[in-house]
Subunit: 312 residues, 4 copies
């Protein structure tokens, strides 16, 4: 329990925007419920040229994490090599591999079991439902996997502001989102998967992990109501925290995550590479596309590594 619950403004906001019970007491996917079959049909209809954009960060030892932290870069190891079939009469060669990785390593989804507060996750789920052995028994990403195909919309806040990348700790506001819509001639609708570009991914592309993983631009609490009202299904950014870091609210820890994930029931995506897609959207004036990033159905998982795709 937080020390003085009533005084935390993000918790007050969360109460206002809460979607608990909206899709029943047993619901585990929150705003992904906005991705209806009809939504998917319309999303598929956006594919006009068949161009495909890979929005994923590679999973490998040269990933974003600095040494010594609690998240580590993926470890890829071979488990079978061509030399292991040297005796095959017909000359067979074969290879197998394995990976040791955080489900939050590189490009990823945060499920509704990832963040909560005051002992509760989304939809009044008690903290004890996440177990060391077995993982998330409620709100697991495994429940979300099939819902992550919908219309994608990109809002480019860096271009809105006329910069390559936003400044450290720039707070993206609801007004920014609306202004980006207006500039790009697109409107975020119910069931959309919203991709917000800060330009932050350029730090990673340039090899500056310390800056990429440092104080970052991102949405502030101010955007929560906007995201709630527009019925966004999932939100993804091109930085590591999916929100301004550190928070501008003293004493609060990732308050945007708290409200977005726990109260609104919003699945969040991190470390998306939006550079090429954004350039294309700017070039052709079309900021909507078929977005597809189902991830992996790992039982009890809190998150999922993904290589997301956008088809235009």
């Amino acid at each position: 329990m937080s020390q003085d619950l009533k005084t935390w403004p993000h918790h007050e906001l969360g109460k206002e925007l809460s979607n608990w019970g909206r899709w029943g007491d047993d619901d585990e996917i929150g705003t992904l419920n906005f991705v209806t079959p009809q939504k998917r049909v319309r999303a598929a209809g956006l594919v006009k040229t068949g161009r495909n954009f890979d929005l994923g960060m590679p999973f490998d030892k040269d990933g974003p994490f600095l040494p010594g932290g609690f998240r580590v870069n993926p470890l890829h190891v071979m488990t079978f090599m061509p030399s292991d079939t040297a005796q095959a009469p017909d000359g067979l060669i074969t290879a197998d591999d394995m990976v040791v990785m955080g489900l939050q390593a590189a490009t990823q989804w945060d499920s509704l079991a990832h963040v909560g507060y005051d002992g509760r996750f989304y939809n009044d789920v008690p903290v004890g439902t996440v177990k060391t052995t077995g993982g998330a028994t409620r709100n697991s990403f495994a429940k979300a996997v099939e819902h992550l195909i919908s219309r994608g919309v990109l809002l480019d806040i860096a271009r809105l502001k006329g910069v390559d990348r936003l400044e450290d700790r720039y707070e993206i506001t609801a007004a920014d989102l609306s202004a980006a819509e207006e500039r790009q001639g697109v409107r975020v609708e119910s069931g959309d998967i919203l991709l917000v570009r800060t330009g932050w991914y350029q730090w990673f592309l340039e090899g500056d992990r310390a800056h990429f993983m440092g104080d970052e631009a991102g949405p502030g609490l101010d955007t929560c109501r906007w995201l709630h009202d527009r019925e966004v299904a999932a939100l993804a950014l091109d930085n590591w925290a999916c929100e301004i870091w550190p928070s501008q609210l003293p004493g609060a820890n990732i308050p945007f995550h708290q409200v977005a994930i726990r109260d609104i029931g919003l699945t969040l995506g991190e470390m998306f590479n939006l550079e090429e897609l954004a350039a294309d959207c700017e070039a052709d004036g079309a900021s909507e596309f078929l977005f597809c990033a189902p991830g992996l159905k790992v039982t009890g998982s809190v998150g999922s590594p993904i290589t997301p795709m956008a088809l235009k």
Copy 2:
């Protein structure tokens, strides 16, 4: 080098069906080149009702592998728990997790670096390009990831034969594939991702791992020319080996894999759950859909875990 290269019939067949050089000497994705932008546009156009089918096996400790083999079931572990933020002033709780798993654990793609013979992989790539440190430096699955969205077609061989599941070691032939097309009123075309149902997945659903991982029904060498001529982009089955096991060719090891992957350049999928999708195709008479299973862009990877989706 195999003991007497000229006498192996599957290698003779492979020479005939070889796609080496067809897309240039540097090509690393083989028949996935058939998935053109135009193909993706047409595939997206197949989404009529928005119903989504999850074709994935869960990734967890209760996976298909029996103890003692070289492939093991996924190990999911929590790396951060709500108790770790007990001191957060605002009551934050959060969870993180990791996985240790073969990239061939459960539902998966085999890349063109997975199988070859006589010291060569697809497109004349030497065996030494697969390294213990770094993995596949050529033909890696990381190159394939963005190409695995296309039209999917399901051919149901079990229903063709009027059985729940095919018999152990039943060899699926080219004639079976053509007969299934005729029965279902669909024709496999260039760039399709072909899903072939044997009913084998039922052994897994029933908990009989030993049977599921044992002698199985699947395509024989006879289907290679058919798959080549139809310009299939990728092939996936609902069993563990994607081909009849053991081979009917004495002394040969997974000869279908050898020809399909190394010579034709065909990406193979394994352990797809086709039960629900097949029932739906039978019910509505539509065996085509938008298929989406991009997998994970793991640098140097030979395969990829996936949770594939079919949208109708």
Copy 3:
């Protein structure tokens, strides 16, 4: 908190035998304090012939654990192979490897952070000192590692009872320990590391994992006072639980562990292979030796894999 604390007889016993505070409020190693420098000098003096006995179970995929449980057998993987140095001008070949394993896989020590009750570990350490990230911040095995060299004494309860191995669920009593001392002509003293043989390891050697990991013979609560009074430094058995399983006390979970580890502060060892050593002790009539099993200093660890050695 247990439902009705006062009524649990093992907790009453624990209170009587408690060593909390005996070596100061900051002590983290409990009865390993009995292993004094003088004790080590005398233990070294027991080496008469230089014969060495390996008491370890191999660490590999064919370990004791059945599939589906929360403990899994070790996974050993190569990370560097001779083929990776194929370009070395001077013909260098080299190999490296890694392991994924539970610190409780195969032969192992349980530290004082492994088991407690009513929210407390040994020496009044609160449950929250074990963290998901960082592990045991108190009572970690890392603190114990240098103390696990002392005089070892083997008591062979199977031979005492005239059997190859004890019956399932046979409860070893204090009287058994004393009788074994008398039969073998040895007396357990302060600072000894006591090895108690049930013959159970034979189930593993015969490949019967299910029996090995099943209901087992082992010490009951009755032995706690004896172990406490004799000032045993550490206790190890040749079975998986180091105590009779299941407990004969209805509703109690590994009550011997609870009292031994939490209250007495006794480090426990499991899955020791005592077969060869016991035969030698029987043959030469000497049941004491220099025992050495320091284990690994893994920061925050709760246990340690070991390959223990006995020198006579």
Copy 4:
């Protein structure tokens, strides 16, 4: 095969010093054969005061490896937490953990399967005996584990030279070893486990990983004959490579390893913390002790993590 075998001076030296066949064609432990039972008896007799020195580096995420290399620091994860037994009627709490680590992470032994040249490991073992699945089928560390208890002797080259730590790339010579013996009044004998101090470990203690893992002082090829003639059983240093790095022989890769491991059959130890032990040896004038570092019996292993102990 190296490009011009006859011209490599370290291979010429290796031929001269070869112990192949000395202990039979099936021998897999090389100079560890010098550790006879009699040797162990005499070693145990060295324990006079019972003081124990822990020579190990902690195994954890803050280990010596810089990011991006093929060796990574250990990853310790909890697999069972007290919260997982919240329902236990008697209040039981318990914790379990696991580790993902290179067997060469932190303080470790290199087995005779670790390094060779020209397609052969120690005792004419072909390169193909190291398999990706299964590891080292010959010369595995699992064979060595019980032999790593013997007399230990410390030679302090840093103190010999009057410095805290040797300069980068200082080459330790046979003359240095003899001079250190003379200064310390000790003589290295058959079956000894020799610890050579460079002072290099101080870089690690100071947190300068880049320097610790960089160009280092260590034995050159010149010491091989000395080590061979003295019948050293195993050699360990306080740096990462156990030899001068980079080699002073142009084009040669870790040539000391090649001769020592492959030709002499000498087990090598790395990253030993000799600081405290060396100070004690200097203070009391006794440079010999009972050395004990059996390591882990991992089937097929090439190396082993250890926490070595020295008893005086």
